[in-house]
């Protein structure tokens, strides 16, 4: 059993979760201001999953994310300012404003992209793990996807491939109980998702997705197992998103009481109080940390707002390796 160090994983993780929340909390506001185009999907409430998993990863490991991918990207080590700039479509964004919220890739830290196609990350992480096996580079790959994505066919094919080839891949199913407006009660007949993995020979564990420690420990084990050449793991994290699916969601599909109940299990408050209880944190330090990270996120936002829009000519670049600029 790997251990959880209150300073190394506890405080670091708490700070990262709180910083990501501060970042994500701003998304609806920026959207209302008209600064975000298309759709953006914040993951407020789900921070413990991205952070718990990322604390078990190295820079050289890969993550394939989904449409709700800011936290996955930031937790993996992306710069908050450049991520925000991408979401605002600016030149300093990681993709020069071409990708936006749903298509943020950061090669140097192994972020293989947030993704607009539900379920796509499952196949992509499997491919990264295949490359690791073929090249022997020792990296592991993580796919983040939702309960909704678990109903995509690619899941069956990826689970089987990963299992027969013992690939170093970790499938992280973030069960936040809804796929857009569709509740898991209506969309799956077997809500125990670990059975999906087991059916294909993929070791499967359920974790409390509101408890970063629980997520971290499961991820640590899965990563160690993958690196040792012992194949894939499915981690099913029970979690919840506090905000709508995206800005402008009417949320007619769920009631406020339910949302409130999950607020009582808030992953940030929960970890903070655990650390305080354990004597690893006190109110003064926690207050200071929060003030500090709020100003860091503010700086990231200021950076993004000041970043220029990309030059129009860049619309035609990067299509091919050799620049063949079309009309």
């Amino acid at each position: 059993m790997p251990d959880f160090d209150n300073e190394k994983q506890g405080i670091t993780g708490l700070r990262l979760m709180a910083k990501i929340r501060e970042f994500e909390r701003r998304m609806p506001l920026l959207s209302e201001e008209g600064l975000i185009r298309g759709s953006t999907h914040p993951s407020v409430g789900m921070e413990a999953v991205a952070v718990g998993v990322s604390l078990a990863l190295e820079t050289g490991d890969a993550v394939a994310s989904n449409h709700r991918g800011h936290a996955h990207t930031l937790a993996k080590g992306a710069d908050f300012g450049r991520t925000m700039a991408e979401i605002l479509g600016r030149a300093d964004g990681y993709c020069g404003g071409k990708g936006g919220s749903m298509h943020i890739g950061v090669k140097e830290i192994g972020v293989l992209g947030t993704n607009g196609i539900v379920g796509a990350g499952i196949g992509i992480a499997t491919g990264s793990a295949l490359a690791a096996k073929v090249s022997g580079d020792g990296s592991v790959a993580v796919a983040y996807f939702g309960d909704g994505a678990s109903n995509q066919g690619v899941l069956a094919e990826a689970f089987n491939l990963a299992a027969i080839w013992n690939l170093p891949v970790i499938f992280v199913l973030e069960n936040n109980h809804y796929a857009q407006s569709a509740s898991i009660e209506e969309m799956v007949a077997q809500p125990d998702f670990t059975k999906r993995g087991e059916a294909y020979g993929v070791k499967s564990v359920a974790v409390n997705g509101m408890d970063m420690r629980d997520v971290y420990l499961a991820a640590r084990e899965a990563v160690d197992k993958a690196r040792a050449g012992d194949g894939p793991t499915l981690i099913v994290a029970d979690t919840y998103r506090y905000l709508g699916h995206m800005a402008g969601d009417t949320e007619i599909y769920r009631d406020a009481d339910e949302v409130k109940q999950w607020h009582d299990k808030d992953p940030i408050a929960f970890l903070a109080s655990n650390l305080i209880e354990a004597g690893a944190l006190d109110d003064a330090r926690w207050t200071a940390m929060q003030a500090e990270l709020t100003s860091e996120v503010q700086a990231a936002e200021d950076f993004a707002r000041k970043s220029p829009f990309p030059d129009v000519s860049t619309a035609f670049t990067d299509v091919y390796d050799k620049e063949e600029v079309s009309r």
Partner: protein, 329 residues
């Protein structure tokens, strides 16, 4: 029970068509992701609003995110005598079900010697303009039009959306019904009559140049025509409405009059359907042309996110005006 014509938005026209279809066609049913529980209960653009309240969950159903199985499943459901109308949230997601569309639906009648009808309608949306970026903004009509066995519909007005959808459900061929995501709130007159496929619409009468265009580019062509009119150039604008079957006769007749042709679309220009229209006219009406026709389409790039970049890759009013001047020069 014909209703009085009324001005309404595209999404409402489509919603009215679905209500009327479910009422008239007992074999029809509607399915798709989030079609009854999202927004105000009508899917992402409202098109399926209140259908479940009126027709029940047996004929209007929310599905899991499972495009691949849904597309092949409705193909078989159609072959077995029902008339499914499947909403794919964005046309980009239809790629997950391309086996169902191309290898199954489009070929079933042919492979099995004409035994099976496949009266399936896939409703979805394409196009750019609202910042949905590369995986939610493609214009795929050319890909579908290329496949033998499919009928491809690209309504450009609320009235056409209503009429063409009513007709789509009656045909025994798999139909790809491509709405434009940036035109759901555009208004226009709806006369509540079904509209047969393969009949182009002359959206504007003119004498000097024929512009063939669909959806967002059609709207821009009509603006371009006004600008050209101010310069004494009279443009005739044709909306093909359906890319297959397609109505070349209307185009031939127009070109015989104007002797000039510009074709514009939002699909990528290279290998696009515009090339097909141009080639048909060149092959069959060469002697009617006074100048080489011009094609306009999106650049050979995915659709970028940032606003100015997005705008730069698809044909603008200015580019349409310039294309007309080029062919008339």
């Amino acid at each position: 029970m014909s209703k009085t014509p009324k001005s309404m938005s595209t999404w409402r026209a489509l919603n009215a068509a679905l209500h009327d279809i479910l009422a008239d066609t007992p074999e029809s049913f509607v399915l798709g992701e989030d079609i009854t529980t999202w927004g105000t209960g009508g899917g992402i653009y409202g098109v399926t609003r209140k259908l479940a309240d009126v027709y029940g969950k047996n004929r209007v159903m929310d599905t899991p995110i499972s495009e691949e199985v849904l597309i092949s499943a409705v193909t078989a459901a159609a072959a077995r005598g029902t008339r499914p109308i499947l909403e794919i949230m964005y046309s980009d997601f239809s790629f997950l079900g391309f086996d169902g569309i191309i290898n199954q639906a489009a070929k079933s009648r042919y492979m099995f010697g004409g035994q099976f009808d496949v009266p399936l309608v896939i409703r979805t949306n394409g196009g750019s303009g609202i910042g949905k970026a590369a995986q939610h903004s493609q214009s795929l009509e050319t890909l579908f039009a290329h496949i033998p066995g499919l009928e491809v519909v690209v309504p450009g007005t609320p009235g056409d959306a209503y009429g063409l959808l009513r007709h789509a459900v009656t045909t025994n061929n798999p139909t790809i019904f491509l709405e434009h995501k940036n035109q759901y709130y555009d208004k226009g007159l709806v006369d509540f009559e079904p509209l047969p496929f393969g009949q182009a619409r002359i959206a504007r009468v003119g004498t000097d140049v024929t512009i063939v265009a669909t959806q967002q580019i059609l709207a821009r062509a009509l603006v371009a025509a006004e600008i050209l009119e101010a310069d004494g150039i009279s443009a005739e604008v044709i909306d093909p409405r359906t890319l297959f079957p397609f109505d070349m006769d209307t185009v031939y007749a127009s070109v015989a009059k104007t002797r000039h042709l510009v074709v514009g679309h939002e699909a990528v220009r290279d290998y696009g359907w515009g090339a097909e229209f141009v080639a048909e006219v060149v092959e069959n009406s060469w002697d009617k042309l006074d100048a080489a026709p011009v094609r306009l389409g999106a650049a050979r790039t995915p659709i970028p996110y940032s606003e100015e970049l997005e705008a730069a890759v698809i044909p603008t009013v200015d580019k349409i005006v310039a294309a007309v001047r080029r062919t008339l020069a």
